[in-house]
């Protein structure tokens, strides 16, 4: 088992944002977390990545406990994410946005940098090459020197995924990657997610509102409502689950 969350509970003050959340994630799986607004989906990502510390419960990657670790330690253990509202370093160039994700691998100190020692030049070259290769994979190489805020919206989304992959993750957490996309773009995104998963040997957790995307590519789905797990299962089972329909559409609805 790659990632395991056990009885994870999180409170904001007196509000229970996540209640007894469990998750078993095998390598190479692609699973979806869905639920109405405010159900606690993004909070779960924040708990996994260490932005919040779970009030109770345990999250383990390959047997290593993540609760209590800092976000940068968790990133180093192979978890990367994107954000619901794109959060690039807006004034850094496209290339630098990817380069910065290599921070933890830098092996030179500022003095060596100042005197352009062999190690500095070598390292910077290696990182820049790695970043450029990654941009090329994402067809962003022509924008390498552009400030990231000047990219069109769709490309910013793509750059955010490229930046996440630059940290060499095993698990990629995608927070509403299809937000603001039209049906055509969503189809492309579905293909794209499937492709990067193979290409980068990834395990993926996806938060999404777009049912077409979730039902189309997720192998398993967890449904949250008010912080609690409402249902778990295959896309088919979820679609026909009356409790899920009720949470989404009210009683008597049809998904």
């Amino acid at each position: 088992m790659l990632l395991q969350a056990k009885e994870v509970t999180h409170f904001f003050g007196g509000l229970c944002a996540v209640d007894n959340f469990n998750l078993d994630l095998e390598q190479h799986e692609l699973i979806g977390i869905i639920g109405p607004n405010g159900a606690g989906k993004t909070t779960i990502f924040n708990l996994i990545t260490g932005v919040y510390k779970a009030t109770r419960g345990s999250i383990r990657i390959g047997g290593i406990e993540l609760v209590g670790k800092t976000p940068n330690q968790i990133t180093a253990l192979g978890i990367a994410r994107t954000f619901q509202n794109i959060r690039l370093f807006r004034d850094l160039t496209v290339l630098d946005n990817v380069r910065i994700a290599n921070y933890s691998q830098v092996k030179y100190n500022p003095i060596e940098a100042m005197f352009h020692s062999g190690r500095y030049d070598e390292e910077e070259k290696r990182i820049a090459n790695h970043a450029m290769d990654l941009l090329a994979v994402f067809k962003l190489q022509d924008y390498a020197d552009e400030a990231s805020k000047n990219l069109p919206y769709g490309l910013q989304r793509r750059l955010e995924i490229a930046r996440a992959l630059a940290t060499h993750p095993k698990i990629l957490l995608l927070d509403e990657p299809a937000a603001g996309m039209n049906p055509n773009e969503i189809s492309q995104l579905m293909e794209f997610i499937g492709w990067i998963r193979k290409e980068f040997d990834l395990t993926v957790i996806l938060i999404e509102h777009q049912m077409r995307l979730v039902m189309g590519i997720c192998e398993r789905i967890t449904v949250l409502d008010f912080g609690a797990t409402l249902a778990e299962g295959l896309p088919k089972e979820i679609q026909n689950n009356p409790k899920v329909m009720e949470a989404y559409l009210g009683e008597g609805g049809d998904l």
Partner: protein, 291 residues
């Protein structure tokens, strides 16, 4: 004309000291959006480190400078760790008040050991050359050259190294920097170390140029350097350098052509006017607040 050239040289000397101090304000503001009002007093501590190393250890200039820079950097990192870090999520005004308190602490701590103004021994043999009627002292040249070297060093670190890129990234979005695998606290410590060590270096140079020092010397100079940072565009490194030289220039030129009691009055009036037309400073850019 020679008089003017002479004043330009003096302005460069004073301006480079202001610029070095202003860099400390701007760097801390850049990453934590707080004004480290203790920074002027760290400058003062740098001057006292210089005094101690030169008087009691009889060290020459370079080791004295290094001791002051490293000592002040350590002090800066400790202050951040114990006084500012616990307030990182607190309203900014609390952190600023804390900084003022730290400043008062440093002044009075130093006062306990140095109740009277102290005289700093001469570390650099002062040779004066007269070139075309302008007298240039070796000390002046060293202050200007060393400041430029330190500023070039800082500019290089911030622009060309990973740590520098991490600092710039933190200034934009502190929350997601750790998710790039970057140890946030370490980068913040490095920023404090860099910024305060420049303040320490400025303290040494100031103590050599004006060798009578006292625990309150950092207050007014700190305020002025802070204003230089704001004029340059707070948070902007090259802006702080430009702001420092502008302030040094204005002060010296006012004193050169008007009664010297007008100096601060005219200098600050000019700066206030400049801020009316460029409220974000010379190189600063408005940052739209997310709503």
């Amino acid at each position: 004309m020679t008089y003017l050239l002479q004043q330009v040289l003096n302005a460069l000397q004073l301006g480079s000291i202001y610029a070095l101090i202003a860099l400390g304000y701007t760097m801390v503001y850049g990453i934590l959006t707080m004004i480290n009002f203790a920074h002027g007093d760290l400058f003062m501590v740098g001057a006292f480190f210089c005094f101690l190393a030169a008087t009691f250890l009889h060290l020459p200039f370079v080791p004295t400078l290094l001791i002051a820079m490293i000592g002040v950097a350590l002090l800066g990192v400790l202050i951040e760790r114990f006084a500012y870090k616990p307030l990182r999520q607190a309203p900014r005004v609390s952190a600023i008040i804390t900084a003022l308190g730290v400043g008062i602490f440093l002044e009075n701590f130093t006062l306990v050991f140095a109740p009277y103004p102290q005289h700093v021994p001469t570390l650099i043999k002062n040779t004066t050359w007269v070139v075309g009627g302008v007298s240039i002292s070796s000390l002046q040249l060293i202050i200007i050259a060393l400041s430029l070297v330190l500023m070039a060093f800082l500019d290089f670190i911030v622009r060309k190294t990973m740590v520098g890129m991490a600092m710039r990234a933190i200034s934009w979005d502190k929350a997601i920097v750790p998710l790039m695998g970057i140890p946030l606290n370490l980068v913040i410590s490095a920023t404090f170390a860099l910024g305060t060590s420049l303040g320490g270096a400025a303290g040494v140079m100031y103590a050599l140029a004006f060798p009578v020092i006292d625990p309150y010397m950092g207050i007014l100079i700190g305020w002025k350097a802070f204003i230089a940072a704001v004029v340059g565009g707070i948070g902007n490194i090259r802006g702080a350098m430009i702001g420092g030289f502008i302030l040094g220039g204005v002060e010296i030129l006012v004193a050169a052509f008007l009664p010297s009691t007008y100096r601060d009055f005219v200098a600050f009036t000019l700066l206030l006017v400049l801020l009316i037309f460029r409220p974000y400073g010379i190189l600063g850019k408005p940052r739209p607040q997310k709503v």
